[in-house]
């Protein structure tokens, strides 16, 4: 056994450095993409179960023990379904669109730190990179709406684009608030600046921005109650009405991966990421990836809860909330926070 391990080490040393780097990066991709896709699968299951129980149903319970294999059954079903290609649709754009919406949902994870120094790429402009990548997601929606050559898809894409840009501004201002407090764009350092027990986290001095960020995140991912872009009862399915089979599955995957991503970002920026809420107490005070996953889980549950609780907003109400409530609130709070910073308000800005 020892001999084998030694052989392995020397073999690893023998291969060129750039191949080592490539293999290492490939390992990172697998270590991130596979858990993300698996969590998406179980997020869909959790969604159906949670909403089921909230509506006094039991949700899926036939495939596997308590329906635990349901997501896999869904995937296999979608794989076997025909990918209908609508007449007069643009052949290339039609298939590029789902890929384009999938890309940022996977790629943005590269800078997310799961534990101290535990991100695939420790980039010093991490938050800027995430903002840039997630903005690309809108192209997938617009292109799909345009390429499908369907009126519903087109209307859905227009609505979605206008809604997403409105909320992206509010989201951007909320992120500016975090940057002011942390004085860095590196996600790992943002977490480190919040170290201390839970009253050191940014959700207290940035309370209005947390609300703005999270509600905008729900709107950005086209989740209920802001899903006018794909509301089944209004415009059948919005931008992906013409997509079927795996092409639809990719859109679906991207939406849920984005939900997990925005929850992860919210927990990193406002709730201390991998920091323990009980820092200073032995054992439970240690930072670990478990705390991050717990926080992500709570935020995701909130999203599902929203869906089960709130009726869909009307489009004019959505636009009013984005432009006339969130943007003024964030603008005001940036200056309030500036004042905090100037007077070095403890414990966050000292």
């Amino acid at each position: 056994m020892q001999h084998f391990a030694g052989y392995f080490v020397s073999a690893w040393g023998a291969i060129p450095a750039w191949v080592q780097y490539l293999l290492f990066t490939l390992g990172k991709i697998l270590a991130i993409a596979v858990p993300v896709i698996l969590s998406v699968a179980y997020l869909t299951y959790a969604e159906r179960k949670v909403i089921g129980y909230m509506q006094s149903r039991i949700g899926p319970n036939r495939v596997g023990f308590r329906g635990l294999l349901q997501p896999f059954a869904d995937v296999i079903k979608l794989m076997m379904k025909e990918v209908v290609f609508p007449a007069n649709a643009n052949r290339y754009l039609f298939f590029i669109a789902p890929v384009l919406s999938m890309m940022p949902a996977i790629a943005a994870w590269v800078v997310v730190p799961f534990f101290p120094n535990g991100s695939a790429a420790n980039v010093n402009a991490g938050l800027l990179l995430i903002l840039a990548l997630t903005s690309l997601g809108i192209y997938g929606i617009i292109i799909s709406g345009w390429a499908s050559n369907s009126k519903y898809a087109f209307l859905g894409a227009m609505r979605s684009a206008a809604q997403m840009v409105a909320y992206e501004i509010a989201m951007g201002f909320a992120i500016v608030g975090v940057l002011m407090a942390a004085q860095t764009l590196n996600l790992g350092q943002i977490i480190q600046h919040q170290s201390g027990a839970f009253w050191h986290w940014y959700f207290i001095p940035l309370a209005p921005l947390v609300v703005v960020y999270f509600v905008s995140a729900v709107a950005e991912t086209n989740r209920l109650p802001f899903d006018v872009a794909e509301g089944e009862s209004e415009i059948v399915a919005g931008f992906h009405v013409e997509y079927s089979g795996m092409a639809f599955a990719v859109f679906f995957l991207a939406e849920y991966a984005n939900m997990i991503l925005v929850s992860a970002l919210a927990s990193i920026m406002f709730f201390g990421g991998w920091l323990s809420p009980f820092e200073g107490i032995p054992y439970i005070g240690a930072p670990s990836a478990g705390w991050l996953f717990l926080k992500i889980g709570i935020l995701l549950f909130l999203m599902l809860w929203f869906r089960a609780t709130f009726p869909r907003y009307r489009y004019d109400q959505i636009m009013r909330l984005g432009w006339k409530v969130f943007i003024p609130v964030t603008l005001v709070w940036i200056f309030v926070e500036g004042a905090f910073l100037i007077v070095h308000l403890p414990p966050w800005f000292s």
Partner: protein, 118 residues
């Protein structure tokens, strides 16, 4: 440091690859039997009429233009926010002046009803 950005680039490639592979798998595994009715755009059971790339509301343009202005503003705010502790009160006042100019435009848009959707 630069190698970190290469990792980012590889991840972007991986994101594209995952989406593309899934769609190719779907295209290969699933049957493909097109017919005229199935391929026509969905329009609630009606025969589709007109071209679907129709004209749309001018307000979408307005929203897009507003977005560009505000997004640029956020891009300006990023470096300012990161260095606020160093530039202190002067920086805060400078940004207040800059934002005030933009807010005047924002209020004008608001009063003119560019953000009304009824």
């Amino acid at each position: 440091m630069l190698q970190n950005y290469l990792t980012v680039l590889i991840f972007i490639g991986a994101g594209i690859a995952i989406g593309a592979i899934l769609i190719v798998v779907g295209l290969l595994l699933a049957p493909h039997r097109p017919d005229d009715e199935k391929d026509s755009p969905y329009e609630c059971g009606f025969e589709p009429f007109d071209d679907s790339r129709l004209r749309f509301d001018i307000r979408y343009y307005l929203v897009a233009i507003l977005f560009i202005i505000f997004d640029l503003e956020i891009a300006f705010l990023f470096p300012w926010a990161v260095s606020l502790q160093k530039i202190g009160l002067t920086g805060l006042f400078a940004m207040a002046v800059f934002l005030a100019i933009l807010i005047v435009g924002f209020i004008y848009e608001w009063k003119r009803g560019a953000m009304e959707w009824e």
